[in-house]
Symmetry: C2
Subunit: 213 residues, 2 copies
């Protein structure tokens, strides 16, 4: 079987991918400051549903960039999301990524309290003494806990990237975040994932690196 491959230099594959995404979006326009994020999510999923799904609170992208420059860290709910975020680039701005999901004390607390580990990992994150951006790609219970702690004035996240994927309380947990006055980037509906959470973080970091933010 003869299969013809497109001749694209390694360094140009991503550029060409974004061109194809832009072509296929056609008349579906995205505000300039949001386009790199929506397109990177489509790039990471090959799923154009994200054109409709991605929801942003006002000025959230600019504010995330600002807070990263001011030393904010990113807290994820999976090792996969942590693994996918460009940590070297984040470090150049003084940031770092935390994921407490595999911590022994988190497992113990979850068992003790009959919660998910995600819930317990947010409780642990609430003790961080620095500005926090949450990037939640998996666990709706993490979003619910963020909402509860915010409502109780125990945390005040710089932003919530709320893109868990799934079937149980996923839509509801995202609606909770969007109903609050926390700054958010949310993939409405069931879709999302650790890859989507990482793609959103990276899109913002690349815009910062390239002087667009």
């Amino acid at each position: 079987m003869k299969i013809e491959l497109q001749k694209v230099l390694p360094a140009d594959i991503e550029k060409r991918s974004f061109e194809i995404i832009t072509e296929e979006l056609g008349d579906r326009k995205i505000p300039e400051e949001l386009a790199p994020i929506v397109k990177r999510v489509i790039h990471t999923s090959a799923d154009f549903d994200y054109y409709d799904n991605m929801k942003f609170s006002e000025n959230v992208v600019k504010n995330i960039a600002q807070t990263i420059r001011n030393g904010a860290c990113i807290v994820t709910d999976t090792q996969m999301a942590k693994s996918g975020i460009n940590k070297k680039l984040l470090e150049t701005f003084g940031g770092e990524v935390f994921c407490f999901m595999s911590d022994e004390d988190v497992a113990e607390k979850a068992k003790e309290n009959g919660t998910t580990r995600a819930t317990a990992s947010i409780d642990k994150a609430s003790l961080l003494e620095r500005p926090v951006i949450f990037a939640i790609g998996n666990a709706p219970t993490a979003l619910v806990r963020i909402f509860e702690l915010y409502s109780e004035e125990q945390i005040k996240p710089e932003a919530v990237i709320g893109v868990p994927v799934g079937f149980v309380n996923v839509v509801e947990s995202k609606n909770l975040i969007m109903s609050s006055d926390m700054p958010y980037i949310v993939a409405a509906g069931r879709k999302g994932g650790s890859n989507v959470a990482a793609a959103i973080c990276n899109a913002i970091l690349y815009m910062m690196r390239d002087g667009l933010l």
Copy 2:
């Protein structure tokens, strides 16, 4: 805003999710030995397109389980996929996961040869002296390189899990794998990802743990 959450115990969330997926698949039936894999991919993406996309060579699932029990390792093309695979469970069968993408020598070779790092990482994997299952969730160039090395009789993978995502040579690279006589699990079309690669590996590992394979 009042948002009603479903009351589901932490331990039951995954079970309930799989029930919903089964309900929504309705009349779309999947062969028994493949259903846990297809459903776990839908679970990880909330994308029912995978019902149509997932392609399996004959007996591939049974054979992957067998080769894992015989000491096969898994080689991924991203740290994210490696991060998502249940390594503790894999270890109970004597397996481990490798990802060479961040290795210095891989970066150097790629630069030297004008290839992607993914290509160079497959070259490095070809030197492993044990049975190998490739789990490729990102780089079509990794699949192309696997195909080339197999054609040159330099490698003989136990199986290729070929689920890169994207727009440049992704469809073509998957067609290459399916045109060969290597055992494969492929997500046809543009969709896939590191999360999908990890989900496929985990679905097989859970079937092995549960005595289904």
